[in-house]
Symmetry: D2
Subunit: 489 residues, 4 copies
Amino acid sequence: MKGKARLKTAEEYVECLRKLKLRVYFFGQKIENPTEFPLTKPSQNSVALTFSLAHDPRYSDLMTATSHLTGERINRFTHIPQSSEDLVKKVKMLRLLGQKTGACFQRCVGMDALIALSSVTYELDQKFGTQYYERFNNFLRYVQHDDLVCNGAMTDVKGDRGLRPSKQEDQDLYVRIVEKRTDGIVVRGAKAHQTGATNSHEIIVMPTLAMREDEKDFALSFSTPSDAEGILHIIGRQPNDTRKLEPGEIDVGNATYGVAGHESLVVFDDVFVPWNRVFMCGEYDFSGLLVERFASYHRQNYGGCKTGVGDVLIGAAATIAEYNGVQDASHIKDKITEMVHLNETMYACGIACLHEGCRLPSGTYYVNSLLANSTKQNVTRFPFEMARLALDITGGLAGTLPSEMDLKNPEVGKYVEKYLKGAARVPTEHRMRMIRLIENMVLGAGMIESLHGAGSSQAQRIAILRQAELETKKKLSKDLAGIKENIEN
Amino acid sequence: MKGKARLKTAEEYVECLRKLKLRVYFFGQKIENPTEFPLTKPSQNSVALTFSLAHDPRYSDLMTATSHLTGERINRFTHIPQSSEDLVKKVKMLRLLGQKTGACFQRCVGMDALIALSSVTYELDQKFGTQYYERFNNFLRYVQHDDLVCNGAMTDVKGDRGLRPSKQEDQDLYVRIVEKRTDGIVVRGAKAHQTGATNSHEIIVMPTLAMREDEKDFALSFSTPSDAEGILHIIGRQPNDTRKLEPGEIDVGNATYGVAGHESLVVFDDVFVPWNRVFMCGEYDFSGLLVERFASYHRQNYGGCKTGVGDVLIGAAATIAEYNGVQDASHIKDKITEMVHLNETMYACGIACLHEGCRLPSGTYYVNSLLANSTKQNVTRFPFEMARLALDITGGLAGTLPSEMDLKNPEVGKYVEKYLKGAARVPTEHRMRMIRLIENMVLGAGMIESLHGAGSSQAQRIAILRQAELETKKKLSKDLAGIKENIEN
Amino acid sequence: MKGKARLKTAEEYVECLRKLKLRVYFFGQKIENPTEFPLTKPSQNSVALTFSLAHDPRYSDLMTATSHLTGERINRFTHIPQSSEDLVKKVKMLRLLGQKTGACFQRCVGMDALIALSSVTYELDQKFGTQYYERFNNFLRYVQHDDLVCNGAMTDVKGDRGLRPSKQEDQDLYVRIVEKRTDGIVVRGAKAHQTGATNSHEIIVMPTLAMREDEKDFALSFSTPSDAEGILHIIGRQPNDTRKLEPGEIDVGNATYGVAGHESLVVFDDVFVPWNRVFMCGEYDFSGLLVERFASYHRQNYGGCKTGVGDVLIGAAATIAEYNGVQDASHIKDKITEMVHLNETMYACGIACLHEGCRLPSGTYYVNSLLANSTKQNVTRFPFEMARLALDITGGLAGTLPSEMDLKNPEVGKYVEKYLKGAARVPTEHRMRMIRLIENMVLGAGMIESLHGAGSSQAQRIAILRQAELETKKKLSKDLAGIKENIEN
Amino acid sequence: MKGKARLKTAEEYVECLRKLKLRVYFFGQKIENPTEFPLTKPSQNSVALTFSLAHDPRYSDLMTATSHLTGERINRFTHIPQSSEDLVKKVKMLRLLGQKTGACFQRCVGMDALIALSSVTYELDQKFGTQYYERFNNFLRYVQHDDLVCNGAMTDVKGDRGLRPSKQEDQDLYVRIVEKRTDGIVVRGAKAHQTGATNSHEIIVMPTLAMREDEKDFALSFSTPSDAEGILHIIGRQPNDTRKLEPGEIDVGNATYGVAGHESLVVFDDVFVPWNRVFMCGEYDFSGLLVERFASYHRQNYGGCKTGVGDVLIGAAATIAEYNGVQDASHIKDKITEMVHLNETMYACGIACLHEGCRLPSGTYYVNSLLANSTKQNVTRFPFEMARLALDITGGLAGTLPSEMDLKNPEVGKYVEKYLKGAARVPTEHRMRMIRLIENMVLGAGMIESLHGAGSSQAQRIAILRQAELETKKKLSKDLAGIKENIEN
């Protein structure tokens, strides 16, 4: 960490990624040069945009922040929010990136891991007299200085969900400490659904749920380079993934960013982590707190990124309506109105999370966790209805459109051109492009992420009920109904 | 206006109301002493609470504000918001009052009329060189000084909704100027659904829609005392209204506040208004702006008051579940969770309206109108689902519970007592009280207000589509689909 | 039972009711002449219509049937279905009556009690060698011959729903046998929500859930005259119930039929029942079967009656749209379309229940219970959305309309007349009548009945899951996924 | 047509298909042997199942029928329904096939074209004295005798949907007659989204909407062999289509049937049709009737096929819940219950369509068109909610599961095996297979077909409103509200 922190350019980011010795598999094959692999290139482009927009004066207020550690200008994705304004700018930055990519840009998971750890390590130290906070801040300085991309790895593979971690037949189904050494620890296990892990420099591991006393070995948080020895990435499949490997660009829908991030199963096959990167090690009674903090920050985000993506889908629906010649039909306008309404409701929830948030002991600013959970709960529903409406407006061609190769084929291309024309002034190719964008958005991996990103819908419901302050509300109702409680005694 | 402004007490408010010479009809009869009339007493109590809470140190931060005109401490219901913080406090104050009353407390309509006029009169003067702003500020000083309750009267009776105002057979179906005199104007017409009009000192009239050049006489705004000569109030019926006239208190559900405000049809039978109370007079091209400003402020409110009322209903549902002995059933907990989620979504929308709001030329702070409309749109839906869930939890007794009089009857009371007992430790009377509260909330006038307050659902949809910035969104989608527009030309 | 069975006229029905010595309480007072009591007159009119329509040649095919016991022409409300066609005609009859009354006509509960007992008593005898079936058929002959109205009494008051019947502090919270005598039994307890009980000649009691071995005294079914010694009726309150006691007729909404039936809490204060009216007495392992049979038949019904009521509401919404002058607005047409769609979906479910029904050992035809439960489940939802849409179309006047007395008042009536006019050609009174009809339908007791009639929503969900044949469905999915189960072993 | 009709076997069907000289393109390439092309093989297997199940004694009652023309046993897919029982069996047959394939089996479109033409040609002749009915019956005999698969081709490509057919810049955007000759006609145009066209022997063309007098050339119906000169098929893309071309079988989800049919754009490049295959030629005033008949029959179907597919999805959701170890969680059971409820509601609508259907002049039995439209309207919604629930239950792996090739890779397969294990007793491969089935069902072409098959959602809404009998319903409401219409005059 020499010299001042500087904001990387997109090119520098890719260059830096290229130097990693990642072990990446896809489709039963080792990917020799992940930064050039066409299947992951689009998701990498999305991450790269978090760098290039930080250099764009129009967006620098949203995309950058001032480090509370160093006072230097840093990418907001490495920033720990110090105020409610920071929380709002975070959501607005995410909406902006959703609008620009129409996809998942992956860098927020690591950001939220940093933010969550910034307060939990502090509180750990307060209770146990440990040194986690200092370690963490050293790590954070490094991340900020080098403008690194971190992957936040929480979700264990979990095995049988009906059993606690310690009751699984295979003890490795939750990431755990297999050895404590003087210089560090050795960990084993796997994290599932790791969005953007292969586009990241660091992997920040956190526990997946509140551990109990007999589960200390799973109460574990640390960071490790994504190419550390023993780490293996197996990239998961997504709908239409191999279209990215085809010639042409139309059928991908969103050739540059690819409508989703990439997830990998990250295997930790006895990976060594030095002590200065260990942020929790056995303090099981803080594992639930770390999960809750991370989840709350991360659930707020969805009111940003998914509304940005929603803006793209609304725009696409409005465009295809025009291309189809039906933009003035009242039912079409009503469907677009509904999409806008649902989208803005998600956004409103996201930005509202700052209210009744609070400053934590470490100085980190916390979201209103109840509203953050409601935000995400809406994201498990509204994008599905928006997708259905967009499909409705698009028409059946979303499922029957010939390929780009047919359009370009000398023999049949003319028929495609002639018969798939909509409004006369619009080139058939434009119509095909827009339909492909919509198809890939509404039947793509993004839908699954809306549902399962930042935890399942049930996880949010449990959080909502827990924070509902029912006793206070019961009291309100009893007061109005004229019920004096002492009568009951 | 002698001396300093002071915050009225609830008693002073009622005393001051009593002095008005209101002409009020209900049920075909003239109400001689409206302040003592049992049917309207509860809604008057709700308004009175806006005074008494302002004296409660726990709530004074929300309930009061500093006048931007005089620097004096005033009730927030007479305050013109000068910052986004003011807009949030407004919503929080409304939630608080919703929680305390479980009802409509009516005073926000006049507040929003004041707020909307504060900017529109300024802009009118800017364009036409008129003196409306000064007149308005003089009026506002009077309202703030005397801590008055204003009714905001926008909705004309409208006649045939398929015809413009000027095309109605009867020209009086929109409030209009029938005579201009040197000392003032004479107006005729009627305003429908005037919430709290009989609990108000002043009636602030605004046009109901954007008027056209040939509709200048309807482009009209003014204030008048609610007991001015020519003004007649006919109170509308509500579900279960006459229960308030019955002996006993249980069957009303919410004996103190009565679960709703009161609406009257306010008839202006050639009412004289002096020029110093006229705030718009023929400037038709500003009528739409006034409607939009008022509607946006008012639609935000519903994210406050209705979530406060929602808190009561959630509390009531949780309480009755307990009284019925089913509080631990998973489907019951799930229904309560859903109610909380819907309620918090409405609240989130309400407070989010401050973001991307702006300061208007007059200095008044404006809400984000798109989000304000989405807020209200959700309020046309979620309270209905919440009501359905609350009824579900309550059980069939919501529709079959015997009367309080049966409970107290010496002959049959013992059977009611014995057979309508739920959980053994809970007195039957408590269970009956809670069921009555729920019945009156979910099948009461409050539901209609959720739907139609601050304009119909379609009005919001039109506003949402108009503010959707579809062109920007289309551009986003074309960029990602790889469509270069100039190809089309 | 002399002579042939004959179809009573409406007048004969009322005359026959008048002779009963019912003990009825409402509002803390004994009702001396229930057949003339204005509050219950409308619901009695609805029952009476089941008699008069049976004499109308246009409807006799639906309203009457041929007794399988005697071959005589009887009212279908006393008929035991012998074929799937009978099940369809039952639903169509109910839709017809819903259309004609806009209300609950109450007679189907007793009909379903008869139908359920017709098969269960047979199966009881098969197993236990008892004589219930013959007793039941004798009773049925009497009901058919005298064209009687039966009340089907299932729902016990239940006390703490978290405890089994035998665990309640008060053992009387489920109707039970308190004494067995040579000539009959003595019963004690109360049944809640008894729709139409005061308009019935007989009360047929059934258990409310599947009883266990230690709950034999609750496994009880019998019939008793509704005025037997020891029976007491306490009529429950409904929204706007006392409007029926007011002068005038408009504000009731549906002056003739009153938009709902009447429910009473029926108390059995040690009532004697002779053995020939006892249909189950301790055979606890058949109590669940009786509940299930009754519930399935009764849940099908809602696809009939509630769609008839829905037809009225759709018609009312279409009419008020016209009266308001907005019948051609696209959003109005869309809302009406949605109402029709929801209504027809409920109806389709109701009539579909005949498919995959079956003939039971007694010859009685049984509905498809899975579809019957889905039918009712939809009725717990769709009428609420229809109500919301109807309110939306109606406008705010649903909650603010002045009373009929104001309309007729010499002083203010002219203002009501003038200012509440909608489309010029429609009399104000017509508009008021239609709004009142809608108000009373959408915020009335009918909504609660949609939710809780024939058991709570959760009861249906349990039944749906139990009948879902998940194992078969799992097999289908495994076959397609290429999963060979034996690999697992 | 020598000898008696006989039911083809699946093998005979494929053999017969192989002899066709279809011109098929996919992905910019001519498919030389469509019957062996791996991408279309699964959809062909689905059609083949309609043959093999007809030979299975368990299903022959549903799968076969007696020809009303010849009295011979025929496949029900070539049968004209003569009774309401036929309409129910049709739906049940479709549910069965949906259960067995989890996909679209394509043969119902042609069946419905035959059924619709059977009545419309009769009525055409009645009015115009033409010979269409005899021609049609000759064709039908041929289809029944040879057990042929027909494609029903209705949807024109339509160009600018805001313009009538005759106003399009390119007159070929609706299929039309370009030449009438003594021996037949020459047609040009294209039909979009032709499900199963490449698996069919005949293509039956119908107009896409009600034509007007100046659009006679588009009022056209005929049949032609699918390999007639001038016919070109361009197969449309679907999500994950090329997975069928990959090695392995797991990732396809449903390797045998492929979760959807195949659609092609069928181009008619001046195709000659002899007169004996022309069933409508210029009788524009019957074009709307043909569309309505076809659409009504076809919309009913979705209550069959989609509930069969729904059964598979429910089974898959229940299975994956078990594999994940969460089958007993109350929220999981509740979600499965909801899926069952929605599915059975669709089914109930489908079978209910027979009620209030009628016999048409030709003897063909007609569905209740209002209910048929409501059926399909539900299918535009419920499968989306079912998909969302199934995804919810499945978990995030639906979007992140590694490929079959990774599972089988010697180096990383062991990690996939170890870390993607759910409940210990279930092989990882089983879990992967089930997740892949769900992924491909809920994010596949089947969703688009649920929305757009048999016409768009708006088409159904228009049909629903048109058949709503609003005048009758208005009358019902006026009667109850006490409105005497003549007062208005």
